[in-house]
């Protein structure tokens, strides 16, 4: 693998780079190089054997990809949201599973502890999460409640000096390998609360979910809580109501809106190169109009995705981004990334289905990404409600 050469060329048709600071570009190039050196040479093998490359965790931590927007006093890097986007974009160019690991650790574990946790909780968990010494997961989705988390069945019962947690969570990234879990459950008043579970708490069980055709290089698990005694100091004191976990998802979705640009661009770049080399009827297939039309559509969508993500990042930095704007970016960018992966697969013909090229892996990964963190359809309804004022959820 030492002789692996990443031929990837970044595509910046509208000179979006001119809108970025030098710092953003240094962040992007650093993560890009790490992905080229450490992820791309091994990721196909791990995806084929359906295993998360755990050995990359300390390196992700060393790089600073875990909690990059968290202030340095808690172990983060204190970077802005566009830098965070640069990180997820480059990680997802490697694989959505690697990006998912970093997204969950950063946006769904470190962010809620930072935003809703006590000072003691922040000091106890954040530095270790940033160093990758603790792996975190986020438990919101349940077997019977995905798009409708408000109907969750997990319950927290006050038992004097502690709470008792019962219920289960499903489709949890990092679920079976987590050291800690930020879990959301309703208290006796029906208010959603967040608690930090540690893996050795009695009654807390973690199971891997097998036989996935997507995110194969990522851990997905199920969490089961059977009368788990949760110390009261493990409750996130500032989180009250469903708004708290949803605010975490807004962070993660923002990262996804950038991340999928990486997957799309990796597919597009592969397809462009292939179309110039592969010959049929005596000339490169890139010289045929139907192939050119596909490539033109892909580059157009990638350019739009870049501009949406950049503008949203600017709004995030200014504290002005609304969750609905994040929905638009997640919905649009994931949808088009998936289309780009499918079209790239078609350009590569039979070669596109093999592990010799990254396309089929990205395409299958994106089938999860269009479902998790709010399905494409739910984000459509979020926008529909924002446009019309009518709630079509219920």
């Amino acid at each position: 693998m030492a002789d692996f050469v990443d031929l990837y060329q970044y595509h910046d048709y509208y000179a979006v780079d001119d809108l970025l600071s030098d710092e953003h570009k240094v962040v992007r190039d650093s993560v890009r190089r790490w992905v080229s050196q450490k992820v791309k040479p091994i990721i196909e093998e791990y995806a084929q054997k359906a295993e998360f490359p755990k050995h990359l965790i300390p390196e992700l931590a060393q790089l600073g990809a875990l909690g990059p927007t968290i202030p340095p006093e808690y172990g983060g890097a204190g970077l802005d949201y566009i830098s965070y986007g640069m990180i997820t974009m480059e990680l997802e160019r490697g694989d959505s599973g690697i990006r998912s690991f970093a997204s969950v650790q950063s946006s769904l574990v470190m962010f809620p502890i930072f935003k809703y946790g006590s000072e003691e909780q922040k000091r106890k968990y954040l530095p270790k999460l940033a160093k990758g010494e603790l792996i975190g997961c986020f438990g919101l989705t349940e077997p019977n409640h995905g798009s409708d988390p408000g109907s969750m069945e997990s319950r927290l019962e006050d038992n004097g000096d502690h709470y008792v947690l019962n219920g289960s969570k499903m489709w949890i990234t990092n679920g079976s390998i987590c050291d800690i879990a930020v879990v959301w459950a309703k208290d006796e008043s029906g208010i959603v609360r967040g608690v930090i579970l540690e893996k050795d708490m009695e009654g807390f069980q973690r199971f891997p979910i097998h036989n996935k055709w997507s995110l194969r290089a990522s851990d997905t698990g199920e969490l089961v809580f059977d009368n788990v005694k949760v110390p009261k100091e493990n409750v996130l004191p500032l989180a009250e109501g469903l708004r708290a976990p949803l605010s975490c998802l807004t962070q993660a979705r923002y990262g996804i809106a950038w991340g999928v640009i990486g997957a799309a661009m990796e597919c597009f770049d592969t397809a462009v190169r292939y179309s110039k080399e592969r010959k049929q009827f005596g000339r490169p297939i890139g010289s045929f109009q139907l192939i050119q039309a596909k490539l033109a559509d892909m580059l157009t969508e990638i350019t739009k995705m870049q501009l949406i993500a950049w503008r949203l990042g600017t709004l995030m930095n200014e504290g002005k981004a609304r969750p609905q704007q994040v929905s638009l970016a997640k919905r649009n960018n994931v949808y088009h990334a998936l289309q780009i992966a499918r079209d790239s697969r078609q350009i590569l013909g039979a070669m596109g289905i093999t592990g010799d090229y990254p396309i089929m892996r990205h395409m299958m990964n994106l089938e999860s990404v269009i479902t998790y963190e709010g399905t494409h359809e739910i984000h459509t309804l979020v926008l529909g409600q924002d446009i019309t004022g009518f709630n079509a959820f219920k």
Partner: protein, 249 residues
């Protein structure tokens, strides 16, 4: 100890090669630029020395337009203490070296070691290090593969030569040019990038050193003709081609 590392901006190793301005200039549009890989080895060595010893200050310098700012920021993010950019895109190595030396003299800095790469990967001149050494009267050790600073302050060096290696000893101040393996290049961490924000970064005006050479035109190698395959059973065709087309028989 004060160390200066001179870095150049070069196209990424996989970047497409094309020219504009009637072949006079490299087409930069859409190209990603990196720190010249040999300069990265040099920078990494300076960082290793900084890690091993106390009181080491590393300054990184580039003679270039603001297109190099991102690369200087990266150098700060991996641990350099100061960055200096001389604000001109140089035409040749003489201009680059001359501007660096003029800045050193003007700033009054006394560098014990000056590192740079053995050459850039786009023009392969390999002259900047030698020019700087001769202009400053420093020892010059090109193509250095290994370097240790001994307790007596002398340098133990291994150089690559054709078909082998040579060990030598020398003294500081010295200009050292790097080959692969002098040190492992470092990736800037997010933390390092954040810390680089507050490090000194100065942009200096050029002093007007004139280049000694001017690039007139770039050429790409001629495209290789397609290989023609001839069936081994069809010797007549081979003979015909060799006789009529290539005219060797």
């Amino acid at each position: 100890m004060k160390i200066l590392v001179a870095i150049a901006r070069t196209p990424d190793t996989t970047a497409p090669i094309d020219f504009v301005d009637d072949g006079r200039k490299y087409k930069e549009e859409g190209v990603q630029f990196i720190i010249n890989p040999y300069d990265e080895f040099a920078l990494a060595k300076a960082m290793d020395i900084k890690d091993e010893r106390q009181d080491v200050e590393v300054t990184v310098i580039s003679v270039d337009s603001n297109k190099a700012d991102q690369l200087l920021r990266k150098a700060l993010a991996v641990g350099a203490d100061k960055a200096v950019r001389i604000d001109i895109e140089p035409e040749d190595a003489w201009q680059t070296a001359g501007e660096i030396v003029e800045w050193i003299k003007k700033s009054g800095e006394q560098f014990d070691l000056i590192f740079t790469g053995k050459e850039t990967i786009n023009y392969n001149g390999g002259l900047v290090g030698g020019y700087i050494a001769s202009l400053l009267g420093y020892t010059y050790v090109p193509e250095t593969y290994k370097l240790s600073i001994m307790d007596d302050g002398k340098l133990d060096i291994v150089r690559e030569i054709e078909g082998g290696k040579v060990y030598l000893k020398t003294t500081m101040p010295a200009v050292i040019t790097a080959v692969e393996y002098l040190a492992e290049p470092r990736l800037p961490s997010m933390r390092g990038i954040m810390q680089a924000r507050t490090k000194p970064f100065s942009v200096e005006q050029p002093t007007g050193i004139e280049p000694l050479t001017t690039t007139v035109k770039h050429y790409l190698p001629p495209q290789r003709k397609e290989c023609k395959l001839i069936d081994p059973e069809n010797i007549e065709e081979l003979v015909e081609i060799l006789h009529k087309e290539i005219k060797v028989i």
